[in-house]
Symmetry: C2
Subunit: 438 residues, 2 copies
């Protein structure tokens, strides 16, 4: 298939509503090439940093290495309930020849100091208690016999047996998190445990969403007999789940001046601008021309279906992603360009969306010359996944409720039933919706 | 291994700090039995419902079926840019014998009505435009020739060809979401597209977290030389990711009266109370006795390591989960009991945490008589997962930063390197941290 669509015929036919560029050639390029050009055309820019409290760090990306301000544990501690002893006192101990040690005190985790023991002495230590100076091991309660105010140890202890050594978990100055890391819930515990209460992170990428179309009204406005900008709310929720800070900038009619004004207004507070609809070659598809007039078109049209009329422009060094109006096409454009860009701006990580291997339950195919963005309904069978391809209408909503993942079928290929594909979940939350077959 | 620990010996030895029940027997039961008893002992209770705006529904659980208030599409619409025609006018059309139709108007998606066509007439319709009455198909622009103010159609059209039929996506009265469903991002679009602006959902389960220990201070308080309640912040973040509404109720010293007061204070505003530490058989482990005095002990002690000293009580029909003090043990108790309970209260779904199949890179084993809660470091190799077991210290924090999943090793079993296990991610966000091997 030729990678060109001649749209002059199309645009010439409908008369006065035409755009000026009747002879424009709509050139399709590959998805990989499109993404490469997009990154190449962006200014070298990174988001600023901001300071966030340790317990609100989850999902944020560290802007600095974090090093331990002190050892963990900060002193030798009992790792078991038992008796702190000098290990050399227990040499040769056995059931028939026990070693007797006098109990001289008790220690608990809240105690600031561990006291002191001398030869043939011991101190009761509950788990986490500081070890008395002089002691170097803990005899577990279960392995001792209580005899008045002394214990009998019935086996020898090695140095440091049942002891958490100062710094054995984390050493002072050790890097506990590297710049660029995303802190997991258990990492929050590590930071707080080290007394670190706030950390510098990369600011969340800000994304503005503009819906274009005379027929559209805001979903929460007066909607009778009108089409609502529901796609904007889907895109906003997906962006939230990616860790971005999305903002819906409402609906703009099919008017180049108004589209221009809305994009210009969005740019100063956005790291990325997303337009929905108006990106095709119809007589009212003004977005590509507006973007070209404000900045530079990186590409318009990719060799993928659905999603073919996706485009990207750069204005003031910021990417403007032009998503098609049909929901499935808009999703294709979203996963192809918005996800990697948010990813790039926000963290440089490449693991935003879960990918699982799934067995196809139905044969799937892509036309010659075009990759296919194939929506899937994943379900679980035992510990593995099976995937049914969901076709539905381009504008279909009910079928979209059933899908939870997508895969890309290479140009002109037939993937037979039973073949395994890499299925990318539409959002991390989709995992909750994967049904287990019974 | 005997499923009993006699702790009388242990508790008898350390004198005055002892609890009264020196002869108490600490009875271990299986995890499955413990969970069964927990559910059985809870009053039949469900959380109330609340009304939430459609675009804030993500992750919430529907409390009612949602039906479509009208058809989608609400009228027949053009599915392509082209010309609305009467399909019977195109019978026999071919390139050599085209059918000529007079263009009588133009229609766009924002138009309220589609106009009307008579025999041998057509109307330009852009995608989404209402179909003129009289027409039943759309001739794609590409398949027509423009001749003055008429077109030539060069092949016959079937009825409804290139037309989105009223109600074909969603029918009025059709159930689009069932009660209990968790709405995905694309579902938000569906609801808003149907003009549904709010829906009744199940209230989020409220969980209170109480940290117990003389040695503890709040992580954001004065922390010099003290151990902070960092586990509480980990548990809070994990609860948030499960869709619960967690609240940290601070630190309580090892004092039965104060523990009692804090739990009693927590109960009215909680659906579930979680205590951390003080659940073992040490001389200062008062939590199980306090819970027993306020309500009923469901069980105390499970045949799993780590996590053995986890317990559950019921007070006023509400579950109190007693987690052990060691972090790995607390996590075990959390995944075994808190996750299913939050799940049960909030949604009745059983798919809260992603489970993937992973190949063991190291042999893993469980002792006779005890299941093992085995933490794993998952990474990706191609499209599949490999898992390294992470041992670390019970109290180890640095090793916990590396893990992202767990599996359960059955009692007394050896799972050899190369064997596949079901690995449960510690939280949905862990997916972002899974590294791909290169």
């Amino acid at each position: 298939m030729r990678p060109f669509y001649r749209v002059s015929l199309l645009t010439r036919q409908v008369g006065s509503a035409l755009r000026q560029d009747q002879s424009r050639i709509f050139k399709l390029i590959s998805r990989a090439e499109a993404l490469k050009r997009t990154f190449a055309s962006m200014k070298e820019r990174r988001l600023e940093h901001e300071t966030v409290a340790a317990d609100e760090l989850c999902g944020r990306v560290l802007a600095e290495d974090v090093t331990a301000p002190h050892d963990v544990p900060s002193r030798n501690r009992a790792a078991m309930d038992g008796y702190a002893v000098r290990s050399q006192d227990t040499v040769g101990a056995s059931t028939s020849s026990p070693v007797r040690l006098t109990i001289t005190g008790k220690r608990f985790p809240a105690d600031r100091a561990g006291g002191k023991i001398a030869k043939a002495e011991c101190v009761y230590t509950s788990t986490g208690a500081p070890l008395p100076s002089g002691s170097d091991a803990v005899a577990q309660v279960e392995n001792t016999r209580l005899v008045g105010s002394a214990i009998e140890v019935v086996r020898p202890l090695a140095p440091h047996e049942n002891v958490s050594i100062k710094g054995e978990d984390v050493k002072q100055g050790e890097t506990v998190f590297k710049r660029g890391h995303q802190v997991p819930p258990q990492g929050i515990g590590m930071l707080l445990g080290l007394g670190i209460r706030s950390v510098k992170v990369v600011r969340k990428p800000r994304a503005s969403i503009i819906s274009v179309g005379d027929e559209l009204v805001d979903a929460y406005g007066e909607t009778q007999h009108r089409v609502v900008n529901d796609h904007a709310y889907i895109v906003r929720e997906l962006l939230r789940q990616l860790g971005a800070e999305p903002k819906i900038l409402g609906v703009v009619p099919d008017n180049p001046e108004l589209i221009k004004a809305r994009i210009s207004e969005a740019l100063p507070d956005s790291d990325i601008v997303i337009t929905i609809a108006g990106s095709s070659v119809g007589t009212k598809d003004f977005v590509p021309d507006v973007v070209a007039s404000l900045g530079k078109t990186v590409f318009h049209g990719i060799l993928v279906t659905p999603g073919k009329v996706t485009g990207v422009g750069i204005i003031d060094g910021k990417p403007v992603i032009m998503l098609p109006g049909y929901l499935m096409s808009a999703l294709a454009g979203f996963y192809f360009f918005v996800v990697p860009l948010v990813n790039f701006l926000g963290s440089e990580s490449t693991n935003w969306l879960p990918v699982v291997e799934a067995k196809l339950e139905k044969t799937a195919r892509a036309k010659h010359g075009l990759e296919r963005f194939q929506l899937l309904q994943l379900s679980k069978r035992g510990n593995s996944y099976v995937a049914t391809t969901v076709e539905g209408q381009l504008a279909g909503r009910l079928s979209l409720n059933k899908v939870n993942a997508y895969t890309i079928i290479p140009k002109g290929q037939v993937l037979k039933k039973g073949k395994h594909v890499a299925a990318t979940l539409l959002s991390p939350s989709e995992f909750r919706r994967i049904q287990t077959e019974t």
